[in-house]
């Protein structure tokens, strides 16, 4: 099983590099004032975290992150930027220190919480001992797709996923109906107002 160990080392290296990139982007987002650069960087952040999820074998989470984080939320943030200014106001120094402490405290709590978690891929963890093993055993003959999570989401819990899709569709539809689109949308009417002023 030497090949398996080599792959493990490769995964560990890739994780460290990707997390380092995410750290750099996070610090840059916190320090930048140009809103457009921040929107672009948040898109890059979700793209790289999606890559990290792929490396961790959470393909479905990765795909959601890429579609929602890098695709839709970049577009939504750009649309929100249209309604405000293009640069953030600089904050006083005291306002910057309080969030720093909050972030450090939450980070310490999260690290403390991970100590109790079972190791990555541990066969004795609760997720792998009860119903998970049944899915792992039955999926190849029942459905025959390589990814078990996809089989659970789209087949074993197909009605659940269908209901979720209906809920998300209804939410998007009501937001569109509330904000409007085309010439009668909120952004178009705001733009008309500013055009009249200017």
């Amino acid at each position: 099983m030497t090949g398996y160990e080599g792959a493990d080392l490769a995964i560990a290296l890739i994780n460290v590099v990707l997390l380092g990139l995410l750290f750099v982007i996070g610090v840059a987002i916190a320090r930048m004032r140009s809103l457009f650069a921040i929107v672009m960087l948040s898109g890059v952040y979700s793209l790289i975290s999606a890559t990290w999820f792929v490396a961790l074998d959470a393909v479905d989470v990765a795909f959601t992150e890429a579609a929602v984080g890098a695709g839709i939320s970049t577009a939504l943030l750009l649309g929100a930027m249209l309604l405000t200014s293009r640069t953030a106001k600089p904050e006083p120094r005291a306002m910057r220190i309080v969030p720093l402490f909050a972030v450090i405290a939450v980070g310490c709590m999260l690290v403390y919480a991970t100590i109790d978690l079972p190791a990555f891929g541990d066969p004795d963890s609760p997720a792998n001992t009860y119903v998970g093993t049944a899915y792992l055993e039955r999926t190849p003959e029942d459905i025959g797709v390589p990814n078990i999570v996809t089989a659970v989401l789209a087949s074993y819990r197909g009605f659940d996923t269908l209901g979720e899709t209906g809920v998300v569709f209804a939410a998007a539809l009501s937001v569109i109906l509330l904000l409007g689109f085309g010439e009668r949308s909120l952004s178009a009417s705001l733009r008309k107002k500013t055009d009249k002023k200017g």
């Binding site: 090949g3 792959a7 490769a10 995964i11 890739i14 590099v17 990139l21 750099v24 982007i25 840059a28 457009f36 650069a37 672009m40 960087l41 898109g43 890059v44 793209l47 790289i48 999606a50 890559t51 792929v54 490396a55 393909v59 990765a62 795909f63 890429a66 579609a67 890098a70 695709g71 970049t74 577009a75 750009l78 649309g79 249209l82 390589p146 990814n147 689109f181 085309g182 949308s185 952004s187 178009a188 733009r191």
Partner: protein, 103 residues
Amino acid sequence: MIGAAAVALIVAIGLMLIRVLLGPTLYDRVLAVNSMGTKIVLFIGVLGFVLGRPDFLDISVLYALINFVSTIAILKFFRYRSFQVPLMRRTAPRRTVQGGDDE
């Protein structure tokens, strides 16, 4: 050999990230983000072969689609300042781009 390709792609992603961070104009950033997405697509494809699971190639193709659509959306947004404009226009569009400083 494939590992070397993965390392080279990571280095390329780092270089693109520097351009996104420093990029003086808006278009530098858009271009850097777009090519970063391309590098990430390639990296996921290479990663599948490094880990011995070529199934990842399908995922990377889907990422390429998302990357393309989001770049088109961003550029369209900065040309027309709205998403609700058809891309084909009969009359010449009015120029409303303000981000390009070097033009």
